[in-house]
């Protein structure tokens, strides 16, 4: 199944991760999203693969059995004509890992444990940024979502959404046909804040407002509230 109108189809991903079961889960998820996935468990194999292939994404764990992920990042950055986007995935929790990762040329940083939905959203964000897609518009039952300008239109009419409402809508559309829990949604929109109260209904308030605004233009029976869990957009 392809998302974003086939943008990510045939994109290839290299997962550099020594935890085999985690790599397999990421593989399963991304394959379902239409990515072509390869694994490397050590720095050595990762390096070999990097020399042979160009990847759209390299998901890089820092603590590898035979070296540091940062060294791999340096090697990659020294190679010419490479467009590989790198997302650093780590459980090291070192204070300056994030800063260092971005300084060394990583495109994003995701601390473990992360939601695969969040990983996908980050990958899409990078794709949009890197390739500056012309057709940066998603069509959804008459609603046009422009990711570049962060606007939603129905026909020619622009719907006035707040920043948070757009963020919620965009995340749900990106993860369409999948139930997104309040926890997941809160974490995506408000960030990874310590002790955030995911049980509180302030996400619901924004969703309620969002639905009210959208339903003024067309019926939105595809925008579903899933029991006590969260929301889903069905297409």
């Amino acid at each position: 199944m392809a998302t974003f109108e086939g943008v990510t189809d045939f994109m290839n991903v290299l997962i550099v991760e020594d935890e085999k079961s985690l790599a397999l889960e990421i593989d399963e998820y991304l394959s379902r999203e239409g990515f072509t996935v390869e694994h490397a468990r050590t720095c050595k194999t990762a390096e070999e693969k990097m020399f042979v292939n160009n990847y759209d994404f390299i998901l890089l764990d820092l603590g590898l059995p035979d070296g540091d992920g940062f060294d791999l990042l340096k090697t990659l950055k020294k190679m010419s004509n490479r467009e590989d986007a790198v997302i650093v995935l780590t459980a090291r929790g070192e204070v300056d890992d994030r800063v260092r990762g971005l300084e060394e040329g990583a495109d994003d940083y995701l601390p473990k444990p992360f939601s695969l939905n969040e990983l996908l959203a980050r990958m899409h964000a990078i794709t949009r940024r890197k390739h500056k897609l012309e057709s940066n518009e998603v069509n959804l039952k008459g609603f046009k979502i422009n990711i570049q300008n962060r606007t939603v239109c129905h026909g020619e009419e622009r719907i006035n959404l707040t920043k948070k409402e757009f963020e919620i809508f965009n995340y749900l559309v990106l993860n369409k046909n999948r139930v997104i829990s309040r926890t997941n949604l809160t974490e995506h929109v408000w960030g990874d804040v310590l002790e955030i109260n995911s049980d509180s209904n302030f996400v619901d308030v924004h969703v309620k407002n969002l639905r009210k605004k959208l339903s003024q233009y067309a019926p939105i029976d595809w925008f579903e509230t899933v029991r006590s869990i969260g929301y889903r957009i069905n297409i």
Binding site: Y29, P113, D192, L194, E195, N197
Partner: protein, 447 residues
């Protein structure tokens, strides 16, 4: 009172006592000895007088008057002989006394020997005297000398004692100051030995050092343990989270199973938050953050207010930010943000519906004090004391409270030398005050 002064006072008092005792003994024995000598001399004179006595001499002496008086030219001594009414005397009894006598219009104090004796069936009264003015003078001289020596010795020894005890106790004060008072973090402890030749202080110094080594070892172990455990736990959580998310994509999944998986994901998220909080505390306590950012407090507060807008609106809380000063401190921006976020988040969490939160500031001398007051449930005294402990939480409706918020606040505040004060009235509200110390944060005041 400091040990140094106690020792000095003790030394001075004992010296004073010794000198006074000696002076009293000397004066007393001087009097005794000189009186004894004079008495002996008087007896000798009397005996010699009696030995040379004959009827003619008596007659010669008492020829003209009934009383005979003789004295030397300086009136140092004198002799009086007179005839008194007859009485039978078997043994001559000498009586000694000290009295004043006027001889030739000069009055002086004399040591006097008086006795009666019979001679040729007549009774005579004999008195021999010797002046003791000389002795009294010596006594006076000794008294004034003693006083002078006393004062001089006291001043001198007081001075010397002060210097000596200061020198002697200096290592002790150094140990107290550098090894006990100024230690707030066992990891930054200075193990440098304090140089002293006093064995006891060496022992004390060594013991404290050994103790501190043990404490910091435990400290490090605990911190390492937290860091390692956190790291080791995050990877498995990541695996389970991903696996559960993949299971959710199965089309055959029943609604019940789906619910349970979402419940599990939520629990895992909670676990993640706890571990990340502990990890943060451990990193702060391990000094893994730098604190060189210029942080504008009111800017940070505005950011937090924006982030928490939803929660504030949700509870209908009115947040009044009334900062009078614009303060920039040197600190770690992310940590200050987290600290204030947690404090304000608590003020929201424990507030009543439609309550309010006041953020005020003031200057206390050179310190800057930020106060966050809520109208919430408040705390009893014993709760306040436990509030900053890990996993301590109030009875609350909030199901997602881990009791780590204030523990994080405490560690960040300690890292930045910010003093936290907490006053609370049960069912009325809580005020958290943060005192930014100028010594550590160097404020830039621009009104």
């Amino acid at each position: 009172m400091k040990l140094q002064f106690k020792l000095t006072v003790y030394n001075t008092v004992t010296k004073l006592a010794i000198i006074l005792c000696t002076a009293v003994v000397i004066l007393f024995s001087l009097e005794k000895i000189s009186y004894h000598h004079i008495s002996l001399r008087l007896e000798d004179k009397k005996n010699e007088f009696l030995r040379h006595l004959s009827s003619t001499t008596v007659k010669d002496l008492l020829q003209q008057q009934d009383t005979f008086i003789d004295y030397n030219i300086l009136k140092d001594d004198y002799i009086i002989l007179k005839e008194v009414k007859y009485e039978p005397i078997n043994t001559v009894i000498d009586t000694f006394s000290t009295a004043q006598r006027t001889i030739d219009r000069t009055t002086e104090t004399y040591r006097i020997l008086s006795c009666k004796f019979n001679y040729n069936k007549k009774t005579y009264f004999l008195e021999v005297g010797n002046t003791i003015d000389a002795v009294e003078q010596v006594k006076e001289t000794i008294k004034s000398y003693t006083l002078f020596i006393l004062i001089a010795a006291l001043t001198l020894t007081l001075f010397i004692d002060l210097i000596f005890t200061k020198y002697l106790l200096n290592p002790l004060y150094k140990i107290i100051d550098t090894k006990l008072i100024r230690v707030n973090d066992p990891l930054n402890y200075d193990y440098q030995k304090i140089s002293t030749s006093t064995q006891d202080f060496n022992l004390l110094d060594d013991s404290i050092n050994t103790l501190m080594r043990k404490i910091s070892q435990m400290f490090l172990l605990e911190k390492q343990f937290i860091a390692n455990v956190s790291h080791e736990l995050l990877t498995p959580i990541s695996i389970i989270t991903s696996r559960l998310e993949n299971i959710l994509a199965y089309e055959t999944l029943s609604e019940d199973a789906e619910n349970k998986i979402f419940g599990s994901l939520k629990t895992l998220n909670r676990l993640k938050s706890i571990i990340n909080s502990l990890l943060l505390i451990s990193q702060v306590e391990n000094n893994q953050f730098n604190k060189a950012d210029q942080v504008n407090l009111s800017e940070v507060l505005h950011e937090i207010q924006e982030e928490l807008e939803d929660r504030i609106e949700d509870k209908g809380i009115k947040l009044n930010q009334k900062l009078k000063h614009h303060i920039t401190i040197t600190a770690n921006r992310a940590l200050i943000h987290t600290m204030l976020y947690n404090v304000i988040n608590n003020a929201i969490k424990y507030n009543r519906l439609n309550g309010h939160i006041d953020i005020t500031d003031s200057l206390d001398g050179s310190d800057y004090v930020l106060e966050i007051t809520d109208t919430g449930v408040g705390m009893a005294n014993e709760q306040i004391q436990r509030a900053f402990e890990r996993f301590e939480k109030l009875d609350t409706d909030e199901r997602e409270s881990f009791g780590l918020g204030l523990a994080i606040v405490k560690s960040i505040a300690a890292f930045h030398n910010i003093a936290i004060g907490i006053t609370s009235i049960k069912d009325a509200g809580t005020t958290i005050s943060l005192k930014f110390n100028q010594l550590s944060t160097s404020h830039n005041l621009h009104k």
